[in-house]
């Protein structure tokens, strides 16, 4: 099974379109999923903004916490790696056969549900965020530089989380219960990707871990960039680490895909 992984094709776009149409059929289901993903950051938004009250915690006022978490909810929805779970299931149940038979690289299948899903989620999440912004009154000092730097930070965050989730899911070629690892990954994202608290507020050791490990760069980093929490050198180091992890994730994905497929024989085949 040798195939160019990244060759674009007309079939790829057709698949993306059809996946999107089929996802729109199940709107309400995905709205509920999006709602579920929104709740944890929303809890911490409320907890931290209440805790800050009229004063500030480590320099963050109530309004700054609101702005931080509202943007975090958006970034979390955009970068959320649903392939984490779906690709693993496809392999475990042998349904990936169908995907392998198509004359386009299987990566398109994941990309197709990625785009379809993201659009459906955003249709739900953006209006809610706008309403929340009116109610909770965020305070954001937006500079042009931060806004511009946010765009690549967000794209890299998405790519990092997508390929990171994909390589983890590919472990299903070797171990049938690899989903325990995914649960671990979710906990680490919760703790170290700026959800439970902005990274700057984490106690010493956790903060160091957060800066080194890839999870911050999947969610928190773009948010820190746009809310102006980072100095220029911190931003540059951040980008360097983010790109480094992204490249590592793509390499891991490519390697595991190649060796995994050789090992793979469909269930019941």
């Amino acid at each position: 099974m040798t195939r160019g992984i990244f060759t674009p094709s007309r079939g790829g776009w057709a698949l993306i379109r059809s996946t999107w149409l089929s996802w729109m059929q199940y709107r309400s289901f995905f709205f509920i999923l999006a709602f579920g993903w929104m709740i944890p950051p929303l809890i911490y938004l409320l907890v931290w903004s209440t805790a800050a009250g009229e004063g500030s915690i480590s320099g963050m006022t109530r309004g700054a916490f609101v702005a931080y978490y509202l943007i975090l909810i958006l970034v979390n929805q955009i970068t959320y790696a649903q392939t984490n779970w779906t690709v693993g299931d496809l392999i475990r149940y042998g349904q990936i056969n169908k995907v392998l038979l198509r004359p386009i690289p299987p990566l398109y299948d994941a990309l197709a549900s990625e785009f379809a899903g993201k659009v459906v989620y955003l249709v739900f999440v953006v209006p809610i965020l706008v309403i929340l912004a009116f109610v909770l009154k965020p305070e954001l000092d937006l500079t042009l530089l931060n806004a511009l730097a946010f765009i690549p930070a967000l794209i890299f965050a998405w790519a990092l989380r997508f390929f990171w989730g994909y390589w983890l899911a590919l472990l299903a070629f070797w171990a049938t219960r690899a989903d325990a690892l995914l649960a671990l990954q979710d906990s680490l994202v919760f703790l170290l990707a700026g959800q439970v608290a902005p990274i700057a507020l984490l106690p010493g050791a956790l903060k160091t871990l957060a800066v080194i490990l890839p999870f911050r760069y999947m969610v928190a980093f773009p948010v820190e960039v746009i809310t102006g929490q980072l100095t220029r050198p911190e931003m540059l180091t951040g980008f360097a680490i983010q790109v480094g992890w992204m490249v590592a994730a793509v390499i891991l994905y490519a390697l595991l895909w190649r060796y995994g497929l050789k090992r793979y024989s469909a269930v019941g085949g």
Binding site: S28, I32, Y44, L46, T50, A51, A183, S187, F190, L201
Partner: protein, 263 residues
């Protein structure tokens, strides 16, 4: 004592099913520990920055988390597994297998609520009790027997409210096979990890009296520090009783509507 004998045999049967998948035990243990760790660390990070929020300290917030873990464990022990086998596209009501359930010579609501047990959830129960004990030690109070009994009583009131809400959702399956209500509720229920008083005013009222997830965890934790007013006690008992009656009636009405799955 027939109900207890029946529950015993439901537990045995469920345990025999689960014991066939032994690696699941370690995976359950692992996810329970992760769940505990993230919950406790979340609170430690918050109170590392601030001493108290609206009068809630590290110790009392930890008590709420302990109650949340205990309540979730009981839910995962039998309420959720039992109701889950009814709902969804592969559930009994949609597939028609519910015929065999109502044919049995026991009360349908009793059977539907107690028949499936997930004994791995006992791990969560142990961890939750551990967090509660740690919280009481942190609080630095010596509890009298009455306080412990009052706490347990509030816990039962909270559990009854949760059970009634879940039974209402289970009953709604007779009208539509969706499980969406439960998911929305689960989202809101996560908010019960923290004391209801930590949230802004309007949300606190919603979480206490409209979607009463706050009562389920915050009230028992407050019982430990003797801060429940008599009015709150009476109203929460009435709420639990009312919800139980409504849920039971709704289940019965739904049951009459059930017309099997034949075409």
């Amino acid at each position: 004592m027939r109900p207890f004998r029946l529950i015993g045999s439901f537990m045995r049967a469920s345990f025999q099913e689960d014991a066939a998948y032994r690696t699941n035990f370690f995976i359950s243990l692992f996810t329970s520990l992760l769940n505990l760790l993230t919950g406790v660390l979340g609170i430690l990070v918050l109170f590392g920055q601030i001493d108290s929020v609206h009068g809630w300290t590290l110790a009392s917030t930890l008590a709420v988390l302990g109650v949340y873990l205990v309540v979730s464990a009981v839910r995962g022990l039998f309420i959720s597994p039992s109701f889950d086998s009814l709902s969804g596209m592969d559930g009994e009501i949609w597939s028609g297998a519910f015929d065999f359930t109502i044919l049995r010579p026991v009360n349908a609501q009793f059977f539907a609520s107690f028949r499936k047990w997930r004994l791995f959830a006992l791990l969560d129960l142990v961890l939750g009790v551990g967090v509660l004990v740690a919280a009481v030690i942190q609080l630095g109070v010596v509890l009298s027997v009455w306080q412990v009994l009052f706490f347990l009583f509030m816990l039962v009131v909270g559990m009854s409210i949760l059970y009634a809400i879940l039974l209402i959702f289970a009953a709604l399956i007779f009208w539509s096979p969706g499980v969406l209500f439960t998911w929305v509720f689960d989202g809101l229920f996560q908010m019960a990890r923290y004391p209801a008083n930590i949230y802004p005013g309007w949300l606190r009222m919603v979480l206490t009296w409209i979607v009463p997830v706050g009562v389920i965890t915050t009230f028992p934790a407050r019982a430990l520090t003797d801060s429940i007013t008599p009015v709150e006690l009476v109203v929460s008992m009435l709420l639990a009783a009312a919800l139980l009656v409504v849920a039971s009636i709704l289940f019965r009405v739904g049951l009459r509507k059930y017309a099997s799955a034949s075409s």
